[in-house]
């Protein structure tokens, strides 16, 4: 569902930087002078390697979050000086606004549907595409193509296809399903699911490519051994492929959830969160209140709430799901 990378997951991971300064093996046996020099060299190395990244991270990630949190405590129209301190008033308004509460609900629905529907489909197609059959490369290309399209193109294209009397309606009528035709984007009860279908169309390829990469990493010997032992295809998939695919699936879940919590572009361009907020996500609500209504501090408060959602999920997921996958890579000193 998103273009963020697995590296994002690592940055906030617990213990990411804690143990790094532990001296490497061998240092203990050498003389004190050598140890100091070695320590100095290590410090210089770390500064050169981590410094620039850390400065960027502090300046462009942590500082804006801190400043945003500060601005969200004021009533500010974006132009005048920051004088009207209102405390947590913006947050109170947000959680008392039915429009924002339903935007949260929509976001959670989209997240849940993404996991429940995109996951199994992506896994099924990835397993299929991992077998050898004629035209496999072409098939992979076709399935991955939507992910490469810019979301803006996807949104414009699908809003044309889904307009009343558009191609989708015509195809359904031609197939004898005319009775099922709906106002896909104008019906308050359907629009969210129409948007979800488009999001699935766009981002399914990402899940497939990720899982395919995971499948490639499973040693063929294991499957051969299973075959020799007389395992059926289903048993091989169930007992060997899926467990070994676990780390990939867990990363996919992480990326999908974080992406779903922030989904904006496709929804905004297709519906602007409408009609009447029926397809609002937290991000479209934030954009409308912040930029269109020019209630900048209120919009910032919404952004902070979104951040807390993502942050809380990232922490919990790191702790309970990703920890075993990243053990050694992120939680221990390397070298």
């Amino acid at each position: 569902m998103t273009r963020s990378t697995a590296a994002d997951a690592g940055l906030t991971g617990p213990g990411a930087a804690d143990d790094i300064a532990v001296p490497g093996p061998g240092a203990v046996r050498r003389g004190g002078r050598y140890r100091r020099r070695r320590k100095l060299r290590k410090g210089t190395e770390l500064t050169i390697l981590l410094g620039p990244g850390l400065v960027l991270f502090l300046g462009f990630v942590l500082a804006p979050i801190a400043i945003g949190a500060y601005y969200s405590l004021y009533n500010w129209d974006g132009l005048g000086p920051l004088t009207n301190f209102t405390g947590l008033h913006n947050y109170k308004i947000a959680f008392n606004d039915p429009a924002f509460v339903s935007a949260i609900e929509h976001t959670l629905i989209l997240t849940g549907l993404s996991l429940a529907i995109q996951g199994p489909i992506a896994l099924g197609i990835a397993l299929l595409l991992n077998r050898k059959f004629p035209g496999r490369t072409a098939m992979r290309l076709v399935i991955f193509a939507p992910y490469v399209l810019p979301p803006a193109v996807t949104a414009v294209m699908w809003s044309l296809l889904l307009q009343p009397g558009g191609l989708v309606d015509q195809v359904m009528k031609a197939a004898g399903l005319g009775g099922l035709v709906q106002l896909w984007l104008a019906n308050l009860h359907i629009v969210l699911y129409s948007v979800f279908a488009v999001l699935t169309w766009q981002y399914l390829g990402f899940g497939i490519i990720l899982l395919l990469a995971g499948l490639q990493g499973i040693p063929a010997e294991l499957k051969e051994a299973a075959a020799i032992d007389g395992a059926t295809a289903w048993q091989t998939t169930r007992q060997i492929t899926l467990p070994l695919l676990g780390p990939t699936i867990r990363i996919w879940v992480f990326i999908t959830v974080i992406g779903s919590l922030q989904v904006f572009d496709v929804i905004w361009l297709m519906t602007q969160g409408g009609p009447a907020g029926a397809s609002d996500s937290m991000a479209t609500y934030m954009y409308r209140t912040g930029f269109q209504n020019e209630a900048f501090s209120y919009g910032t408060a919404i952004a902070i709430i979104m951040f807390l959602f993502c942050f809380a999920f990232a922490l919990v997921y790191q702790r309970f799901a990703l920890r075993r996958d990243t053990r050694g890579a992120l939680t221990r000193a390397v070298g």
Binding site: G59, G78, A186, A278, F291, E294
Partner: protein
């Protein structure tokens, strides 16, 4: 060590910002302090004329101005309208605002003036601004001039003569009941009567605002805008009228998801392609529509009539809803070059080119005779004969209540109710 780096980084960034700010303002201050006719000056110009024909007209206007003022270079920065609106506030907040930017006067201008970045050009324009007449006073805030209009707008019904003829409608409706019966005739001929671009919100607001203008007296409207309060009974009546009208099913299928303009499946595009018979829209309809259809006769097929009278309403049936487009100079801009450019845009020769592109009605009444699309002349005549012009409510109000009103009306259209309490309370909610 990390802290040191951060401090260094901040220092570098601050220095860079100072240098940049110095660059952008040096063009401005140097020219006023030195000889204004010789110092080189560059003015960046943010506008929403990103499509032809207005885009080309503005490029020509720049050439003409630069030829007359060899020391001035105008840098044209056209943007799509909806994008433009979201970029202005951050730009005025930042250190490098554009020199000239488009705005719509009235309450929104008053909000922007708070930034301290909008230039008071009263002394530059005082000698000639009166020639533009009273509509230009929307660009005054606290008695000072912060902008100059280059065109004026009026909202009314644009209709297709061919589709009206098909349905056997011989005269434009003058009352709401007549409009409703015309809708029924059009439906009977398989024609969708009225196009509405609800996705963008503001076209919805035109409907509610016009019912309010017909139900409320001029003084009620004026005081409601200045006090940011829609509690007068006539506003509730406007909602009830609109509710009754919407119940007659006058709009195209799926209007809630239809965009307003810019794309062929927008409400403007639908009128241009004959998929709806009429639309309540501003006078930019011919210009916006001509780019969305291959029909060369589109301009001649168009007719115009004012918003029909509401029987029993306290408002004047000849009052119109409208506004205009103008430009402001920011404090970064070089004077008098910037004010000279704004004046240049209102000269009859330039106004002729602007209205020739169908951008709107001329801000300078001296150019009224140059309108080319026949229906535009009807719109201009109604505008000049109007007893008063009600500024679009979302610009007449300060920005946040104005946008809240647009959003509330858009929301109302998704689930209409006769009380309209969500609309009338929207401007007073935080």
């Amino acid at each position: 060590m990390h802290r040191k780096r951060v401090v260094l980084g901040v220092a570098v960034a601050a220095a860079a910002a100072t240098v940049l700010a110095a660059c952008s303002s040096s063009g401005g201050s140097s020219s006023t302090s030195t000889n204004s006719s010789t110092a080189k000056v560059t003015l960046s110009w943010w506008n929403n004329a990103n499509t032809q024909p207005l885009l080309g007209v503005f490029q020509n206007v720049i050439k003409q101005f630069e030829a007359a003022h060899p020391n001035v270079t105008i840098q044209n920065v056209p943007m799509q309208n909806e994008l433009f609106k979201t970029k202005i506030t951050p730009a005025l907040r930042g250190n490098a605002p554009p020199d000239i930017y488009q705005q719509w006067g009235s309450g929104q201008q008053a909000t922007q003036v708070q930034s301290g970045k909008v230039a008071d050009i009263s002394s530059e324009v005082s000698s000639w601004i009166s020639s533009l007449g009273t509509p230009a006073t929307e660009w005054q805030t606290n008695g000072k001039w912060y902008g100059v209009p280059y065109d004026l707008h009026v909202v009314g019904f644009w209709y297709r003569k061919d589709l009206f003829q098909q349905a056997g409608i011989t005269a434009a409706p003058t009352t709401i009941p007549q409009l409703e019966s015309d809708d029924a005739k059009l439906r009977a001929h398989g024609i969708q009567p009225i196009g509405l671009g609800s996705k963008d919100g503001w076209p919805d607001a035109f409907w509610w605002e016009y019912f309010a203008i017909r139900e409320c007296s001029q003084s009620t409207i004026t005081s409601a805008m200045s006090s940011v309060n829609l509690s007068a009974a006539c506003f509730t009546k406007a909602s009830a009228d609109l509710d009754a009208f919407v119940k007659t099913n006058p709009f195209q299928t799926g209007f809630l998801a239809t965009p307003a303009q810019s794309v062929p499946n927008s409400s403007v595009g639908m009128l241009a392609n004959g998929k709806v018979a009429m639309e309540l829209q501003g006078d930019w309809e011919p210009a916006a529509g001509s780019g969305l259809t291959s029909d060369k006769n589109f301009d001649d097929q168009l007719g115009w009539f004012p918003f029909p009278a509401v029987p029993g309403g306290a408002g004047d049936p000849k009052a119109v809803l409208g506004g205009g487009d103008g430009y402001s100079c920011t404090t970064a801009a070089a004077e008098p070059a910037c004010a000279q450019f704004l004046q240049f845009l209102t000269t009859p020769a330039v106004e002729k080119q602007i209205i020739g592109a169908g951008a709107g009605l001329p801000a300078n009444p001296a150019a009224n005779g140059d309108l080319s699309v026949p229906a535009e002349k009807d719109a201009a005549a109604a505008n000049s004969a109007a007893p008063y012009i009600a500024e679009y409510f979302d610009t007449a109000l300060p920005t946040t209540p104005g946008q809240n009103l647009d959003n509330a009306v858009a929301k109302w259209f998704a689930s209409p109710d006769a009380s309209g309490s969500g609309i009338t309370s929207s401007v007073t909610t935080p």
